[in-house]
């Protein structure tokens, strides 16, 4: 799908234009900025989302032992470390030849993952996104934060419930891997412990209100959305295919599945692609103005092959959800576009809330499963030299790929992180907002915040997404104490270095 607003990616005469920057983009995870180039009549000629931080994990895990990698790479993120832990653990399972891990271990990992998705979604919606939706897009930006929600009598109860929902997800994580953030549990071929009865009692005691609040949250988003359906459908509206893992029967899946790509018209472009074939399906493009790459479907090329991932992609791509309340919510949601994939950026919020409800239901099912409390925990197999682990992280499909040498040390790593998949989509969404709502207007803080609202819908985790080394364009500048440039080295995207 060609980007309708691509004409705003690069201005033809940038030096003649005025530059407006939103730096940093707020209420997202990590650091990014948006730049707009405008002419004298405030007509927008260029809009870009730049990711300005740099991590380098792919490089510095080289030479580390494979069994250490899941624990190491989870440090990519403080919001969704479990996703990296599990994607890497799945890759390591394949390295040690234990692709099929014991049922107890898989169920423990699933419980861990549902806790993770629940807490991450709750964090995003209640802490980061809901102030925009509840106070309104035209309200003062200084008011739009969770502390103001807590100060306002009418929103206090909701904000507290959001905080407690997140806490419950984190408690699930703590029960499985010992810590709310950056624990240890997945090991090559399985897990290192069962859940205790005490943990079960502790979590089950909270489940009734967790389910009730998940439903309330979903109802709230739906109410907001339907209060102004035309505006919400149009805001940040872009059109693309959606990519997600699904079960073998087409059901919604978060932990382990096969890749499906559903086109804008609902047709399946690809289905049941083994996750280990991701290299055949996807390519990545580098652009000189961002540290984040731009993935695309190889078969469609860099111009037309962009797509979206994440909660909306998963709900759009799947045929059903295997828990009753979330499935009922999905059916109702899909009516927004008569059963066809829903394209509105803001629809991500409702999809996210459906998944919170789904996770709560799955946690309830799993806690009643005796396999969590007893049974084999580790499988073994024949050692190989390569492993690919793919998982549906809260923000979308997360790919970890490792190759090891004969001693078991990492030789090569490739991480395609959820947010990276949405890079083109986020850029296209801000270009849409810039073209539809900002073009020709006198820019105010509230108008500019609409750009952030469009980005925020995708819940980007920018710190997770910028780790590649090698061909990434880079500028290194040496300045004296007064800030005067003494020397500049530029590495181009083809790897050549030039002194300027």
């Amino acid at each position: 799908m060609t980007e309708r607003y691509r004409y705003l990616e690069t201005a033809s005469q940038p030096k003649t234009l005025r530059r407006v920057a939103i730096d940093p983009v707020t209420r997202v995870e990590g650091h990014g900025k948006v730049t707009l180039l405008l002419d004298e009549g405030n007509r927008i000629h260029q809009a870009r989302l730049h990711i300005v931080e740099f991590r380098g994990f792919e490089k510095f895990i080289q030479g580390r032992p494979y069994f250490e990698v899941p624990v190491l790479v989870q440090r990519l993120c403080g919001i969704c470390p479990v996703s990296h832990l599990l994607a890497a653990a799945k890759a390591v399972d394949r390295i040690v030849g234990a692709e099929c891990i014991p049922p107890s271990a898989e169920k423990l990992r699933r419980l861990l993952h549902y806790g993770q998705v629940l807490q991450s979604h709750a964090l995003h919606f209640f802490h980061l996104a809901s102030p925009d939706l509840l106070f309104g897009f035209d309200s003062p930006t200084s008011k739009r934060n969770i502390l103001e929600l807590l100060r306002e009598e009418r929103f206090r109860d909701l904000a507290l419930k959001g905080i407690k929902l997140r806490k419950f997800g984190q408690e699930v994580i703590r029960a499985v891997i010992g810590k709310r953030i950056h624990g240890t549990g997945p090991i090559p071929g399985g897990m290192n412990k069962h859940l205790t009865d005490e943990d079960r009692r502790h979590l089950e005691a909270d489940l009734p209100w967790v389910l009730a609040w998940a439903e309330e949250g979903l109802e709230l988003v739906r109410r907001i959305y339907l209060a102004e359906p035309d505006f919400h459908l149009r805001f940040g509206l872009i059109r693309s295919p959606f990519l997600a893992l699904v079960r073998s029967d087409g059901g919604h899946e978060l932990y382990d599945g096969r890749i499906r790509v559903k086109g804008e018209d609902g047709r399946l472009l690809f289905d049941q692609v083994p996750d280990s074939d991701y290299l055949r399906l996807l390519r990545e493009q580098v652009k000189s103005w961002s540290y984040m790459k731009f993935p695309y479907l190889a078969a469609l090329g860099p111009e037309d092959g962009w797509y979206r991932v994440g909660p909306l992609a998963r709900i759009n791509a799947c045929d059903f959800i295997d828990t009753p309340k979330a499935e009922a919510a999905r059916r109702e949601f899909m009516q927004l576009n008569s059963g066809f994939p829903i394209q509105a950026s803001l629809a991500y919020h409702e999809a996210r809330m459906i998944e919170i409800l789904h996770c709560a239901e799955k946690i309830q099912q799993l806690l009643a499963d005796p396999d969590l409390y007893a049974g084999e925990l580790v499988a073994s197999g024949t050692m190989g030299s390569e492993g690919i682990g793919v998982i549906e992280a809260p923000r979308g499909t997360l790919i970890h790929h490792y190759q090891i040498d004969e001693d078991g040390l990492i030789q090569r790593a490739n991480l395609i992180v959820s947010t990276t998949h949405n890079n083109t989509a986020m850029n296209e969404a801000i270009r849409q907002v810039a073209a539809e709502y900002l073009d020709g207007q006198e820019l105010t803080e509230e108008l500019l915040s609409r750009i952030e609202i469009a980005i925020r819908a995708y819940d980007p985790c920018l710190s997770c997404a910028t780790h590649a080394l090698g061909q990434m364009p880079l500028w290194v500048e040496l300045q004296d104490v007064r800030g005067n440039r003494l020397q500049r080295l530029v590495r181009h995207s083809d790897g050549t270095v030039e002194a300027r």
């Binding site: 032992p65 069994f67 624990v71 891997i177 950056h182 240890t184 549990g185 290192n192 001693d407 040390l409």
Partner: protein, 245 residues
């Protein structure tokens, strides 16, 4: 029975015992990293530095003597031990967040015990080679603190697998094998030398990250409590055996 005073408390000792042995056997912890109850003392980490009659000495090598006045629990000595521990951290590459030994590591536990909140000194970031050639044992030199426990253990086992080579900042742990690689050495996973490392420099691959958080050695107890629980009985047993002989 001869005795000395440790921080004002009388410690009865057996002739031949060091101050550290006598103190630990009597249930009084003195910080240490390079000492192990089953191996000969080394006196290199200096964490066990105490004042004996006003003079600084290594408690692990200094013989106990009747009437000594020994000070261990002073703020001055805590500061000294803290600086030594910080130096050990910055001289190597100790990334606790991803280290298999985290929660079971004596260096990390010592840091907590001494109230360490930062490295204080600039990090050296040395470049050291990792050796994963052994099928069961990983040697990660980044984390080595040169305590020589593995050297002494391997020597006592008659294998002489490890040795320190080089001097000063160039000191490094080397392996006694034709290729210099651990995989070509006589080391076996069940050897004490493969299991005695107080940090994460020598790791058993098979059991990496198997101990869940909450059940690790220092999750609920300080290094002092663990030492008195696990090392004190070994010291007592050793000296009982020695007396019978």
């Amino acid at each position: 029975m001869p005795s000395f005073a440790l921080d004002g408390q009388e410690i009865v000792f057996k002739p031949g015992q060091t101050i550290l042995e006598a103190s630990i056997a009597a249930g009084h912890y003195i910080p240490h990293l390079c000492w192990h109850p089953k191996l000969s003392p080394h006196g290199s980490c200096k964490l066990c530095t105490v004042q004996v009659n006003g003079r600084l000495c290594s408690a692990c090598t200094f013989p106990a003597a009747d009437g000594q006045e020994v000070i261990s629990a002073s703020e001055e000595l805590r500061q000294l031990r803290l600086r030594l521990t910080q130096m050990l951290f910055v001289e190597g590459n100790h990334f606790c967040p991803s280290c298999e030994a985290s929660g079971q590591c004596e260096l990390q536990a010592m840091g907590y015990y001494l109230g360490m909140t930062d490295g204080h000194f600039p990090h050296f970031f040395p470049r050291r080679e990792i050796d994963a050639s052994h099928p069961e044992v990983l040697l990660d030199r980044d984390r080595c603190i040169f305590c020589e426990l593995c050297v002494r253990a391997s020597r006592a086992e008659g294998k002489n697998v490890f040795e320190l080579a080089g001097r000063g900042i160039h000191t490094r742990l080397v392996v006694n094998s034709p290729s210099g690689r651990l995989g070509d050495s006589a080391l076996q996973a069940q050897d004490l030398a493969a299991r005695v490392c107080p940090v994460g420099a020598i790791v058993l691959k098979e059991t990496a990250f198997r101990v869940p958080i909450g059940r690790r050695r220092y999750d609920h107890k300080t290094i002092a409590e663990v030492s008195l629980e696990q090392e004190a009985p070994l010291v007592r047993a050793h000296w009982q055996e020695a007396n019978h002989e």
